[in-house]
Every structure is written in C-alpha cells, then in structure tokens.
C-alpha cells in the first residue's frame, strides 16, 4: 500500500460553480458534429422499408421498381442479406448484452414481429433517392395471429421477470388484511399510456468498413455496448470496431440499445463496400426504436385516522415485446418512500407482438410516482390533512422494506425548502376554493425519487509539463454537460484552473467509460477521476522527491493541491515546475483496465459493489415537486403556471447544468402529465402519431418559469457526495400536476394524460 496522496483543497470554488459548458460555443455555432454529419469519400445513403402489419410471414418482396430507381445501388431483403449473428439476450456476466434491444435477426428472417419492423434497406447515392425507392418496395405478407392490444391482454399478465437493477416486488406483513381493516383507506387504479423519447436528434448512423475493421459514428448513450454488440453481430473482434459519439442530441433512454437502424446501416456498408449513412426520419424512430411501456397500476393505502400508514399496496402491469423489452420497475419508489406497517408490491407484465419497450427517463419511477403520489394525495384529502403533513408523518428512518439504512435522506429538508419558496402555507385546502378571475387555481405537491447507482468507469488523467490536464474516458455527452462537469472535478481534484483541463470523450478508442444511463454517469466517473487524480498527485510527489523539489521534502498529508501545483507549510511548486525539474513531459494516471482480463475484473468488482452497497445502504436522489395549475372552468384546459422543485441530489457539481437537467425532467414530466401519449392502434399495433405534430410534447408556451432549488448536502457514501440528476426531475411531476388539478377542480384523473375532455 502506498502512502496517502496529497489532498485536494477542500474549498475549491470550481466545484459547484455554474460554469458555462466547455462545448457550448461549438454546439451553438454548428461546429459540434453529430452522427449524421460525418462525411466520408464515396458516402452513400440508406433508407428503411418498414412493415405495415403487426405479425406476419413475408411471402415475397418486389424490389424491381426500387432497383430501377435512379441512384439506387442495392435493396437488401431477407432474400439476399448476408447472415448476421444473433445478439444474446440481456443478462450477466456480459453487461453489454443489455444493449440487445430485440431478439430479431433483421433481414435474416421472413418473420415480421411488429408493425414497423424493417423488412428491407435501400442504398442509394442520395438520401432522397433511397427514400423514394424505399416507397417503391412492395412486400407481400401472410398475416399471422397477433396480440397487439395492451388493455385486452391484461388478463394474461404474468409475474415480471426481474430486471438487473431493481426487484420486481416485495412484501412486509399482510397488506391486504391491513387494508381491509384500516379506519381510512383508498384503493385506486391508474393507467398511463405509451410514451416516446423524442430526442431532438433523430437516430442516425454513419458506418465505414476498412476490410474487416469497422468505424461507426452513432448517436448512442452506450458506445462500448454498441461496439461489443456490433462486433458480435458481424463476427469481428471487438478491438476492430470503433464507435464514436462525441455529441448526442438527447437520448433519455432511447439511445441506450442497439436498434435495427444501427445494425442495418453497418450491414449496408458491409454489402456495398461504401461508407453508409442512415439518418432515420422522426417516423422511423417511432417505428424502430422502442418507447416507454403503458401501464395499469393499483395503489391502495390504509391508515389510522391520524394519518399513520398501516397498508401500502402498489401493483403494476406493463408491456414487453415478445422479442424483448425492459421490465419496468413501476413500484420502485414505493419500496422507499413511506413507512407503512404492511406493504405489498407486485409487478406483472404482458408480452405483445410489438417492438420491445425500452428505458425512458426514470423508467418505473416516472409513472410509478404519478400513481403513488396521487393516491397519497387522495388519502390526505379523505383524512382532511395537509398532503405534506401526511407525508412527513410517514417519513421512514430506515428503508421500510428490510430496514436497510439510508445513506442519507433529506426529503424533509426538500419539502421545507420547496414549501417556503412556493408559499405552500397560503394554500386553501378545499378543492375548487382558489380562483384567479374565472380560472380555477390548484396547488399540488408530490415526492420525487430516483435510485442512485454506479457503473464501472475507466479513465486516464494526464498532466502535461505546461500544467494543463487531459481527461480521457469514453463517456457520453448527450446534452447534460458531462465534459464540463468532469473538467470541474479534475480542476477541483488537482487544484488547477478549470480552463487548464481538456476532456476527450465519446470514442471507444479511449478508456471505457460508463453508459449515460440511470443517472449514473457523473458519480461513476467522479469515483474514477478522483482515484486517478489522487494517483497523479502521488506520482507528482514522487517526482518532486526524486528531483529535489521543496514539495518532495514534505509529507503528502501536509500538502494541498491548489494554484496549479502542490503546496505545504514549507512552500510549494507548480506542477509545471515539478515536471520540468524532473525532465518529464507528462505524467499519466489510469483507473481501470481495458484488457480482456481487466474488463472481467472490472465487471466482477462492479457487480460485487452493487450487491454490497445494496445491502449496506439505500441510496437515492429525492425531491419535492410543487405545482400550480390554472384550469378553465368552461373548457377544462389545464395550464401549469408555477413550479418549484426542491431536490436532494447530493453534491451539486455544476449548478447551471444540474439545474438544466432538473428543469428538463420537469418539462418532460409536464408532458407526461398533460399531453404525451403514443397512439397505438389496438387493431393493428401501428403507431398513429409518429411525429411531433401528433405526439404532444410541451411547447414553450406550456412551460412556466421552473424554480429549481437544491438541498445541497453531500451523500457520505458516494464519490464527492454526488447522487444523480438526470432522472429525479421527471419523477413526481405527474403526481404534482394531477394533485394540483384535483385541488383546482375536485376532479381526480386516473388516466394520463390529463387532457381537457377528462375534466368536462
């Protein structure tokens, strides 16, 4: 064991500062390039032909007109596509199998599994020619029996298979019996529709083969997983596949896995021996990339007359495709939020002849909190109790299931902070009692909750003789500001100016980074960056000792990293001075290994840590969402007019980007509450609003100023005290809006979205 490294200064203003994004100028001036913007000599374009029937066998496919279209190079179908290998189902030990979105071997099968499955790829010299020719391909189908209606399939629901990050159920005592005898109770059923991510950048792939070596520019949240899946599917060594994604235009879970467009672009490049770009239209994203499952949920609560919960029941049914899908942890927050004496949580699923459902911002909690927090609000109403007071009376000291400790829990503080900023004390409790002219005014509140976990992260931190620092790690910038945040952490850990730090990311040629998912990137990287920086300080001290620097004559424990160097009571030197005296051009520190063995070790360590940490602590970001709505009493139109979100995300590394993350979550939550719904025709399984005209995300006019506040208390068990900010913002929003609508109108809406027809 080497001795402890010199410590970073504890009060470095760079940590937490609202630093502007490193790449802000590049993005706003169009210099930042995205997957569909990479040109290669001889680049050609691909377009998909998607099935228009739910389940069928292809009995023929007429490509003559398409092939005759000017500019068309080839049309790939199940009749002529080369064989690819099937990607294994998601599972351990290889965590990259998580990226297997479906079990379908596209173009290697005559089976159609969902309405929208690609059945052909057209490659042409221009994008227009490819798209027009795609419209000229005529598949013939023999229909097969298909189950596509979620509501109709509910009676066939089966227990949910466990997802690797969250249990599918849980119980304590006898909740149904406690419910039956509870002095006050509610027993409610909620439904939520399918949702789609609608990242501003539609999915795109640019694929180039050089012999058996593959380079892919891809918009993905998981470049390492994408590389490994592609290597498998195309039967080439992982080392020969390079995936780049320096900038991604939003993901929200929709770019976490290997969807057909990516595979087929790479296939098209392989066959044509030309660089191929496949940029999906918005409609093709809907047809070939999964969305969030619809759900039906039961929440039943029993309590004493003074509001102590005796029973909490939360059950869910969600949808998977027969070909795959993400088992959604709808009851996740219900394991942790309330100290009920008896608890029953159960998750079931139905499998449809539909595209795999997938992760979408806070899978589980975003829709789970809507149901749970609506039920809590209803119980408060029936008890005649303030809904915050009811929550505080049931705030647990330890996790309600199993008694595990919370790593820290600041939900009370979040409520106190939010209530103060919102002016909650002025609320008149009676529904329909607050007005502004003719508008009905309602105030609602709900808890936000998202678990905090970590992925493995390999990083290299390189200190140069000029005092600048380079952080290298194949992590992702999907809009959250991660390079900026990590540069701040490096600057903090090494005591160098923020401007002295450069960051390289989004390229599998770099040390393997964590996926951008599960709100895990910042903390995952922070752990490794801190370790690497500590290593670096140790190395510099060693150099200083060997080269006779004043720094080397002091004990590491007496030194701090600041002002671009190491300083102690007897004086100090800048890194540049130390390196130059030692004749070193640079010093590297690495965390993690990208060798085969190193990778396995890393994964085992990751799995062991996940299990160990899960037994020791329940860790989560939490928050309190406060919403004001105005409802038109004539038309039922709902407008959100005020918002306060008070969050505990542990340490806030960058106040500006963290606030933006949470605001983005709230905006998405307002959409979930009021307007977003993927319309899947129950007769055909076909999505009928695959565009931003028919799928109503909130527009600017739907969103008021969003006041985001932080409790700001570091989590003692997480690196730098960081929890996660990417998803907690959307949780609780549906509940807060629904509760505000109830307060305004006396009408509780049990099925999302809360459109005006439900309030007439």
């Amino acid at each position: 064991m080497t001795q402890a490294p010199p410590a970073p200064v504890t009060e470095a203003p760079v940590l937490g500062a609202p630093v502007d994004r490193i790449d802000g100028t590049a993005k706003t001036t169009g210099q930042a390039r995205y997957a569909a913007e990479f040109d290669h000599p001889g680049l050609v374009h691909a377009a998909l032909v998607c099935a228009t029937v739910p389940r069928a066998r292809l009995v023929g496919i007429d490509t003559a007109d398409a092939l005759a279209h000017p500019g068309v190079l080839t049309v790939l179908t199940h009749e002529n596509a080369p064989t690819m290998r099937k990607s294994p189902s998601p599972g351990l030990p290889d965590i990259s199998t998580m990226a297997t979105a479906t079990s379908v071997t596209y173009l290697n099968t005559d089976e159609v599994h969902w309405n929208g499955q690609p059945v052909a790829v057209v490659v042409a010299t221009t994008s227009d020619a490819a798209k027009e020719a795609a419209a000229l391909v005529r598949p013939s189908y023999e229909p097969l029996p298909a189950t596509v209606d979620f509501q109709a399939a509910l009676p066939d629901a089966r227990p949910q298979k466990r997802n690797p990050f969250s249990p599918a159920g849980g119980a304590k005592g006898d909740a149904e019996a406690a419910l039956a005898t509870a002095p006050v109770s509610v027993d409610l059923t909620f439904t939520t529709p399918m949702h789609h991510h609608n990242a501003i950048e539609p999915h795109a792939t640019t694929a180039v083969w050089h012999g058996d070596r593959l380079t892919v520019h891809e918009c993905t949240q998981t470049i390492d997983w994408t590389r490994r899946r592609l290597a498998h599917v195309f039967g080439v060594p992982v080392a020969d596949v390079r995936v780049l994604a320096e900038f991604v235009g939003g993901g929200f879970g929709g770019k976490g896995y290997l969807w057909p467009g990516t595979v087929l672009a790479v296939l098209a490049a392989r066959v044509t021996e030309r660089p191929v770009r496949l940029a999906l239209s918005r409609e093709e994203v809907y047809r070939t990339v999964g969305g969030r499952t619809p759900s039906t949920q039961r929440v039943a609560l029993g309590s004493t007359v003074d509001g102590k919960l005796t029973a909490l029941v939360h059950t869910s049914i969600t949808q998977l495709g027969r070909i795959g899908g993400w088992p959604e942890q709808v009851t996740s927050q219900s394991r942790h939020l309330y100290d009920a004496e008896h608890v029953l949580l159960r998750q079931r699923q139905v499998e449809l002849d539909a595209l795999s459902t997938t992760t979408m911002r806070a899978p589980g909690e975003s829709i789970g909190t809507y149901a749970l927090e609506s039920a809590v609000d209803e119980l408060a109403h029936r008890l005649g109790m303030d809904p915050i007071e009811l929550r505080m009376r049931n705030e647990p000291d330890r996790n309600p299931l199993g008694g595990t400790r919370f790593s820290h829990r600041r939900l009370r503080e979040a409520y106190a902070l939010g209530a103060e900023r919102f002016g909650w004390a002025e609320r008149s409790p009676e529904p329909g009692s607050m007005r502004d002219g003719r508008w009905l005014v309602g105030w609602g509140v709900a808890s936000a909750y998202h678990p905090a976990q970590m992925f493995p992260a390999n990083v290299t931190v390189r200190l140069f003789a000029d005092g600048t620092v380079l952080l290298r790690s194949a992590f992702h910038e999907t809009g959250m500001g991660q390079p900026t945040t990590q540069a701040q952490i490096v600057a903090h850990e090494l005591g160098v100016p923020f401007e002295a730090v450069r960051v390289e990311h989004g390229d599998t040629a770099l040390p393997t980074g964590p996926p951008a998912g599960g709100s895990m990137q910042t903390a995952s990287l922070a752990a490794s960056v801190r370790a690497a920086c500590a290593d670096l300080r140790r190395s510099v001290h060693g150099l200083a000792r060997r080269s006779g620097s004043v720094v080397g004559r002091q004990r590491p424990a007496d030194l701090v990293a600041r002002d671009g160097g190491l300083f102690g009571p007897d004086g100090g030197e800048t890194y540049a001075a130390i390196l130059s005296r030692a004749g070193q051009s640079r010093v590297d520190a690495k965390v993690g290994s990208d060798t085969g063995l190193g990778r396995v070790t890393g994964q085992l360590r990751f799995a062991a840590r996940m299990v160990r940490d899960g037994m020791r602590w329940v860790r989560a970001s939490t928050g309190a969402q406060f919403c004001e709505v105005r409802v038109d009493p004539d038309t039922g139109e709902v407008r959100v007019t005020r918002w306060v979100g008070a969050f505990d995300i542990g340490t806030v590394v960058n106040a500006k980007t963290a606030t933006s993350q949470l605001r983005g979550g709230i905006v998405m939550g307002i959409g979930l509450a009021l307007s977003e719904e993927t319309l899947v025709d129950p007769r055909t399984g076909r999505i009928m609003n695959p565009n931003l005209s028919g799928y109503h995300v909130p527009v600017h006019a739907d969103v008021p100023e969003l006041d985001v506040a932080f409790v700001g208390d570091p989590d003692p068990t997480m690196p730098l005290g960081v929890l996660g900010a990417g998803e907690v913002g959307i949780t609780g929003v549906g509940g807060a809006v629904a509760n505000a609508v109830f307060h305004a109108t006396g009408r509780r809406v049990y099925d999302l979205p809360i459109t005006l027809d439900k309030l007439l």
Partner: protein, 330 residues
C-alpha cells in the same frame, strides 16, 4: 419524394396555363402542407407549379369598405397588417392561433384555404382512407377519432378541416377570387369547401387548374368579435374546437351575430342554425345555450369524439358570454 417537373411561374397567366397543361399538377406556395404530404407520399404530383413569386401579396381597401387580400400574403404578415388588426381582429387572432411562428412565416392565405386534413389515417399510406384512396375504407371510424368531426360527416369520411384562419373567414363572409385559363370567378367562402358525402377526395369546388388569387372581406361590422381556440396544449396544436364569433347586442337583445366553428366539421362551419336562434333573442346565457344546442343537434359522434359536443357547446356559450359582456361595457 417522387421526382417531378418544376415550373416557376412569373405571373398568374403562366401559372394557370402550366396547371392546365399538366393534369394533376399542384400549385406550390409556402409548401407547409404540400411538401409534408409529398414526403409522406400522399401527394405524388408529376408537376409542381411554383407560384410563390407571383405578385399577390398586397392588402387593398375595396370601394365597399372591405379588404382584398392577395392569396400569397404570408399568414404572419396578414396577422400583423394594421387594417386587419384594427378592423378584423378576429382574423388576426385566428391566424396567430394557428401553427407556429416559423410556419406562419411560410404559409400563405391561399394555401391555408386549401390545406388538407390532419387525420392520421389520411397521412399513413399503410391504412385505408377514402379521401386518400377512394374505395379503400376509413380507418378512423373504429380507430383514433378523438380529433375528428361531429358535424357534416358522412359514412365515408369523418375528417376535420384543420384551418383556424378559414373559421374566421367563414364568420366574416369572405369571398374567394379564383382564376384559370378561362377567366376569373368569385366564390363565397361558404361554397368553397365541400362536405365529404361519397366523394371525400373532392374537397373544394375548384377545378384542378384554378388558382386562388385573392380573398375579399366585406366591410367590417362594429360588433365585438373574438376567435377562441381550444386545444391540447397552449400552442402548436390543431383545434379540438374553435369558435369565431361577433355579437352585437342592443338593449339586451341580440341585434346581429356571426358564428363559425372549427375543429368539428369537414369544412369551416358557419353556424347558421345558431345564428337564426340567437338573432332577436335576449342576450343571455340561456339563449346562447339554446343556440349552441340547436347547432349541435345534428351532431354524430364516434367512440373518441363524443366530448366535442359538450366542448363545442361550452366554448360557444363562453365566447358569446364574453362578447356580450364586452359589448355592454363599450
């Protein structure tokens, strides 16, 4: 998008000649609807006649005290025009309630008149649609029809006309001027759009090569007026129900009323029956409700759009109530 012949017309004569010479040709103005439909392969014209450079972009006062509006005037320019804002505020409100700022900067008056329904089944070639392909069926009945029409529909089509501007024009008794190689003619707005009947693919009374050159508004009435649009989000959504109304009240009695509805019918819907009931009646909420009920009595609903009857009733009543209050303050 299919390849097509492109003709850039320098003047109206060339434009209508080009259209007459190429059956199935489409006029291209702002392109906000036509280009979308071409991308979706719903419209597949062999010839596109670009009329965007024609000098039909002015607003002129007519001898009778009204306005003549060039058919290529952009929606945003028309909404902002001082004579429109001051004399026909309902039209400005309707224009600004439509689409987004970017689309309004492109979309023209003529194109807005001829825009096609946003029924999702019409847009999707994978589903049957009598309007897109006569004789194939209607997937909206039995499918998603929450946004569909409740008045003037037929067994073959339940799609709505999507325009906001046209609803105001219907209330204002606008007249459309058209031209083809044979000459010019004037069509009252009420007669421009057809009801679907058995031929939902025939949406207007225009001949295929007739070009809309201007829209004429009669002299404005003094009555307070308003355009009220009800939709699923605050902006950039089509109307579930909209109401264009002008109400003149004298001594507590309705002296004159103009009422048109959007979002409920295959064409901009002049509420003739409601106007008849209201005229001469006391300007009370009861009268407004009776008038709405009379107009909506023939409504035929589907699984998803039943709420539109109640929503239309409430929106009509609320709009008239606001106008009556405004009028009494004046």
């Amino acid at each position: 998008m299919k390849d097509f012949a492109y003709v850039a017309a320098p003047d109206v004569a060339t434009a209508v000649r080009a259209a007459a010479d190429a059956p199935g040709a489409r006029f291209l103005a702002g392109g906000t609807n036509l280009v979308d439909l071409m991308r979706q392969h719903v419209e597949r014209p062999d010839t596109v006649v670009d009329i965007s450079r024609l000098p039909l972009t002015s607003v002129e006062e007519t001898k009778s005290g009204g306005l003549r509006i060039g058919a290529l005037m952009r929606n945003s320019d028309l909404a902002a025009h001082p004579l429109v804002r001051t004399r026909y505020p309902m039209l400005t409100q309707a224009l600004l309630a439509g689409a987004s700022a970017q689309l309004r900067n492109m979309a023209t008056v003529g194109g807005n008149l001829l825009q096609r329904t946003r029924c999702p089944y019409f847009y999707d070639r994978a589903t049957p649609c009598h309007k897109r392909e006569p004789g194939t069926g209607c997937a909206a009945v039995g499918g998603f029809n929450r946004s569909h029409a409740i008045l003037g529909t037929s067994a073959s089509c339940v799609a709505t006309h999507p325009s906001d501007m046209c609803v105001a024009l219907a209330a204002l008794d606008a007249v459309v001027e058209v031209e083809d190689v044979r000459g010019t003619r004037r069509i009252p707005l009420a007669d421009l759009h057809r009801l679907p009947g058995d031929t939902p693919h025939l949406e207007t009374t225009l001949a295929p090569d007739e070009l809309i050159t201007s829209v004429e508004l009669p002299a404005p009435a003094a009555a307070p007026s308003r355009y009220r649009k009800v939709r699923d989000r605050a902006s950039f959504a089509f109307a579930l129900v909209s109401v264009a109304a002008a109400l003149e009240v004298t001594d507590g009695t309705v002296a004159a009323v103009r009422l048109a509805l959007g979002g409920v019918a295959p064409k901009p819907w002049r509420a003739v029956e409601a106007e008849r009931v209201l005229t001469g009646a006391p300007a009370t909420e009861e009268s407004f409700r009776a008038a709405a009920d009379a107009e909506l009595a023939p409504a035929v609903t589907l699984d998803g759009n039943e709420f539109k009857v109640e929503l239309a009733r409430r929106t009509i009543v609320a709009t008239l109530r606001d106008l009556a209050r405004e009028g009494s303050r004046a």
